[in-house]
Symmetry: C3
Subunit: 273 residues, 3 copies
């Protein structure tokens, strides 16, 4: 695989988010909706949350990206996601899907499969368990936590990307981003991110902000995870627990200069897929 | 215009909030609902959130103020807002309306116009774009952000107050509060407030708390924005980003003594309207 | 009453939460749902929120505890609570009910009575006003705040436990935990906890986490309130207001070692009931 992504490319995408300030439309869960709005602002984009079926498609049409997150899904909400997603597709607006808890209940798995069928999803961002379930290669999800995956993580991500036709962005100690052909591994991050509810959702929001300004979604997704993970690394320094960590996480992403990301991004290509 | 509001008047209203601890009933969005509850507590009032149609009017009847915020509206929620708003009107409970995103989608604009038609709104608190849209003088809203207004800001606020029959409280670098005749300008605040999601919603909650204890809603609204803005000024000192700013913002409003507000409020009358 | 609970027993239950990491399923309000998720994590358990009727029972079946909180109830949500609660009963999963605002509106009182009728609730955690209302001994609730109780607090808690057949966990300056026979008094806590929205909801989440690993719900509930209250005591040291207190509250519970709880828990038996 010839493509190598360096920190400079990540920094350039971050700079574009900051200068263009894309609107990132969310249809998301009530647990972390505030975090998603604020992390979008800290990334340099403008969040909006609108899920009523009377307006979700209208809002999607003017957005830079649409983020769908099924963390507290309802049947009505999934229907509105599909309305918004289809309109986003018509308008060339990239759609990011966070399949929170897919595999934990039948409703969640079915909702994700239905959205993938009805909407052209640009990026599917999930944890290992969720991606394993959706790849059909095997994964275990308890509640909203990944409890493991069958076989190799990269293989599962690649299989899921090929099965779904999306860019898969699989978070973990090492994040795996792949379109089924190219594979990028992102090493940024800190274990404290697992002690705070919603870091996965926040990663999807940042992924949306970056997708709004970079049409190569492998690059944009890896850059988003590098930036968010680097903020996490910096925030962990001096944190006394999950909430002082949270305060620092948002502040660090907000104050991250592109040159910080250029120097701190740890993205490498995985060869031989 | 003869009326001048000094810091002492602001401080007296704050003292009344603290001593009476009015119940501020919210029907509001899921993004910032927690912020709204906590900022109401920090102002010295008691928040409650109840939007089921079976109870919203009953709760409004015993409240000191009712705050309606359409940030994540649904058709059912707007219907419940109208039920609660009418009951508030019957009981002499002031209603504050935050028209979040009016102008961004047809549903939002229509919902605000319908609430204004069905409910006697005491205070309409919005950003410049929203107020311009509702005044009919021209405004642009993208997502939930103001993207500008046609013509002079004070003229738009005055036109909106006259068109809607409400006190308009228009937030911005300088806040404009007017009943269409008197105009007060509030200079308190800090640009960091725009980097945090929900400061507009929080301003509406504080406006509700102040309206519950002062029947001159021009005065109460200006005092609320002065107090909230002063907390923002103080919080910005030493903040490292939006989340350390947020922590300090709530703490500053909580610990603000009336004499602090008397000294720090920057409210002036605009002559010649 | 012979049973005395010492700090060592509290610490052992906390240790079990940390080592087993039970899944705590919530159907809860939108105001404090994020706080509930994060406090559950800080206690050492795994939160999940799932309220759609299509999945709430399925999720309850695999949980270690189910927490029901009516803070922003709807008719549909209460129906889903009952579905999930019944399934939890079938599976031996303890159910914790937080009757937020019972007594403030007819809908809230009725919802609690209906849940108590349809579901075998293990622990009913409320403030004094709510418990007085549900005991039928008299209590006053304004919005979601307790405004007092008729007669003695312990008597009301005991009466409520006997009337409902649950363990009652009544929070206040001194918490009262009783099954109608044994009575434990928990002295941990700090007045700052009343200045922050959602500490009652958080207490219910921690109660759920502890109930998941200790089948004597008098002991588990008292231990949960001791741990949460001790975190509050420690967090109040150096807090400048409700939000710096909040940050410290979560961090303190997260970093609380079992030996800290063994030394700091202040639980005593009340004799002669």
């Amino acid at each position: 695989m010839e493509h190598i992504m360096d920190g400079r490319t990540c920094a350039e995408i971050l700079e574009r988010v900051r200068s263009r300030r894309p609107l990132v439309h969310h249809i998301t869960n009530t647990v972390t909706i505030n975090d998603c709005a604020n992390i979008t602002l800290c990334a340099g984009a403008a969040p909006v949350m609108a899920e009523a079926p009377e307006e979700s498609a209208e809002m999607a049409a003017v957005a830079g990206a649409l983020v769908l997150n099924i963390g507290t899904l309802s049947t009505a909400q999934v229907a509105s996601m599909i309305l918004a997603g289809r309109r986003a597709n018509e308008c060339g607006v990239p759609v990011v899907l966070d399949p929170v808890g897919a595999g934990a209940t039948r409703m969640r798995t079915d909702a994700v499969l239905r959205i993938l069928q009805e909407v052209d999803v640009a990026v599917l961002k999930g944890n290992a368990g969720e991606i394993g379930v959706l790849a059909g290669t095997g994964g275990t999800v308890r509640g909203v936590d990944s409890c493991g995956i069958a076989g190799d993580a990269v293989d599962a991500a690649v299989a899921c990307a090929r099965a779904t036709g999306t860019v898969v962005s699989m978070t973990g100690a090492t994040d795996v981003v792949t379109d089924g052909r190219r594979v990028l591994l992102v090493e940024n991050g800190n274990p404290m991110m697992d002690r705070l509810s919603g870091t996965g959702c926040m990663a999807a929001s940042v992924t949306g902000a970056f997708a709004a300004v970079e049409g190569d979604y492998v690059l944009s997704s890896a850059a988003a995870l590098a930036a968010f993970g680097l903020a996490g690394e910096r925030a962990a320094v001096g944190a006394r627990g999950p909430y002082s960590f949270r305060t620092a996480l948002f502040d660090e992403l907000f104050s991250m200069a592109p040159e910080d990301l250029a120097a701190g991004a740890r993205v490498r290509a995985r060869h031989g897929v």
